[in-house]
């Protein structure tokens, strides 16, 4: 039984809703309105070569980021929580660094290291791998900006879960790998689903860093966001609004999908 059956003062929810509605619903409505206004040109614009190319590139980047972090992020989180060695705390701290950085700074940092004056440039030129103004650069910055999410969520959950289940499994004869697959992994699924949604949304929305490292070269390093940017600059509103809507829809779909997955896992 709740200990407080008396409702909070009525003005509180009203003001809260008003603030949220004005700040968030209004722009969202404007977006929908903008799309609707230019609906005719939107379909044509979105199915054009450059648009599809940019969108597919963004989706590829998001997929790569998710795949990489599901493996390496979980590994990192595991090492942070379950292992012990000098400098372990530094790992946690490093994982949070991307959150403190402006996207432009992120792009700049990779540009400086891999660009023509950068100290990794000779190495990569030898490998015949172009990073700056090329797809690999986009991959690197996308991995960078999405790094913290998986690690944080999994670290929190692993700490909460404790080791008792894993220890019990070990006493029953399971190898470390078996413990991980049959005990740890199922237990951290909630964190994986939440973080996956965040990773995908962040990757879809990345703009500043891909702009700097990639140069937004149409057909080569144009992403959905830089596509929108170009479209705005060239006053091509149907394309801009259309792609914006697609990005928002994809992010929302990602949240919804992983949310549903999480619920399914729980049952």
């Amino acid at each position: 039984m709740s200990s407080r059956s008396r409702p909070m003062q009525p003005w509180l929810p009203r003001v809260a809703f008003l603030y949220a509605a004005l700040l968030i619903l209004l722009p969202l409505a404007a977006l929908a309105y903008g799309v609707a206004e230019h609906l005719g040109g939107t379909w044509r614009a979105l199915t054009s070569g450059p648009a599809l190319d940019a969108l597919s590139r963004t989706i590829t980047l998001a997929t790569i980021a998710l795949a990489v972090h599901l493996v390496l992020g979980v590994m990192t989180a595991w090492v942070v929580v379950r292992d012990d060695f000098f400098g372990k705390r530094a790992l946690v701290w490093l994982a949070d660094v991307p959150l403190a950085m402006s996207p432009i700074t992120i792009g700049l940092a990779f540009f400086v290291v891999f660009g023509r004056e950068g100290w990794l440039y000779p190495l990569f030129t030898q490998l015949d791998l172009k990073v700056v103004f090329a797809f690999p650069g986009l991959v690197l910055v996308t991995l960078f900006v999405t790094l913290p999410f998986m690690i944080r969520e999994v670290v929190l959950l692993l700490e909460d879960l404790g080791t008792s289940e894993e220890e019990a499994a070990a006493t029953m004869g399971a190898s470390p790998w078996q413990v991980f697959v049959h005990i740890t992994l199922p237990n951290i699924l909630p964190a994986l689903t939440s973080a996956s949604a965040l990773v995908v949304a962040r990757a879809l929305g990345e703009f500043g860093a891909v702009l700097v490292i990639g140069g937004a070269i149409s057909g080569e390093t144009d992403t959905a966001t830089t596509f929108v940017f170009h479209a705005i600059e060239e006053r091509q509103l149907p394309a801009a609004y259309g792609m914006s809507m697609v990005l928002v829809a994809l992010s929302v779909a990602a949240f919804a999908t992983f949310s549903a997955l999480r619920r399914k896992v729980r049952s």
């Binding site: 039984m1 709740s2 407080r4 059956s5 008396r6």
Partner: protein, 344 residues
């Protein structure tokens, strides 16, 4: 003086307080006793003004209090889990009621210290609640509630969160405190020993209704309903029929207390209102004999499958030969009967 007239309260579709009438005299120490979830706490909160009744009237000292907010009712409330302000010192906690009324700091400090003395926590004013034990915290909660000199003191399962030994000490101490201060006090508990040990009168509450009000002796010896009889002690509940002016309970025939009740009956016999002794052929058989310190618990089954529970003092001569498997005879020294009505 507190008067509740036809007070009801529902949470959603659940009727938590159901048409309650109750009067409490000035200076009384009253216990609201009953099983968990029975509406006792809600009733207390309605009196305090922390909940509003859906129907009925609440009168505090001849003033209709329904529309008065908690802060206007001059009620002291002690919560089950203390609800001390975690970020304030003990002294600040106790002073709080005085502070919000604008009492000046020196006077506040003086009264707080006097109260901390009264509850036996002198010198602990600068500690934080997290640094105190459960019993100490509860006493701070009491001191805090008493500081604004309320006319009415309400305690919601005040010793529920404290361990058994401390609970006993606090009970004694609460009674003494009440006798000293004389404020009208109502406390909620599900522990019948606690209610009997502390209160002048006991109010038995179940499913939001008052089953009986009376002194501990009254409710113990003259329970008004089957529930009261069963709740106040370990008891046997039997189904019985009136046959030739006698009560037929399984294989036993007992004189009926009130011959005019016809039809099926519910009979309650307290576990200490029975005598059992080994005898052939008897009316039942002993299942288990369990020593419980100063008492012995005897579990038996009457012929026909009816279970029987009896308690004896350890050294009772009746227990000779009462061993598992022995046939027994039974004598009932006191019973109460009610018509088997629809109530669960």
């Amino acid at each position: 003086m507190i008067r509740l007239h036809r007070v009801s309260k529902s949470f959603g579709s659940v009727r938590v307080v159901d048409d309650v009438d109750l009067t409490i005299a000035k200076g009384e120490l009253v216990a609201l006793l009953g099983p968990s979830g029975g509406g006792k706490s809600t009733l207390l909160r309605i009196i305090a003004g922390l909940e509003t009744a859906d129907a009925g009237e609440v009168w505090i000292d001849d003033v209709r209090a329904n529309d008065l907010e908690a802060r206007q009712r001059r009620v002291g409330f002690v919560f089950q889990h203390y609800a001390l302000f975690r970020h304030m010192t003990v002294a600040d906690n106790v002073e709080f009621g005085l502070r919000v009324r604008g009492v000046d700091p020196a006077e506040r400090r003086r009264r707080a210290e006097a109260l901390l003395d009264l509850v036996g926590l002198q010198g602990l004013g600068d500690r934080y609640p997290s640094q105190l034990s459960g019993g100490q915290r509860q006493r701070v909660a009491l001191a805090r509630a008493l500081a604004p000199e309320p006319g009415l003191l309400l305690l919601d399962e005040p010793f529920g969160a404290v361990d058994a030994k401390v609970r006993e000490e606090l009970r004694v101490w609460l009674r003494r405190l009440h006798d000293r201060i004389g404020a009208t006090t109502i406390f909620v508990t599900h522990d019948r020993e606690e209610a009997f040990a502390v209160a002048d009168r006991v109010v038995l509450v179940r499913h939001g209704r008052i089953e009986q009000v009376g002194t501990p002796v009254e409710v113990l010896d003259e329970p008004a309903t089957e529930f009261v009889a069963g709740f106040l002690g370990e008891a046997n509940h039997f189904e019985a029929e009136l046959v030739d002016g006698m009560l037929q309970i399984g294989p036993m025939r007992l004189p009926a207390p009130d011959p005019t009740h016809a039809g099926p009956l519910r009979v309650v016999v307290r576990s200490y209102d029975l005598k059992i002794w080994a005898q052939e052929p008897g009316v039942g058989v002993v299942d288990r004999v369990i020593p419980l310190g100063d008492r012995v618990r005897v579990e038996s089954t009457l012929d026909g499958g009816v279970p029987l529970l009896a308690h004896f003092p350890r050294r009772s001569s009746l227990l000779r030969d009462v061993t598992p498997g022995a046939r027994i005879n039974v004598e009932v020294t006191q019973l109460r009967a009610w018509p088997a009505a629809a109530s669960p």
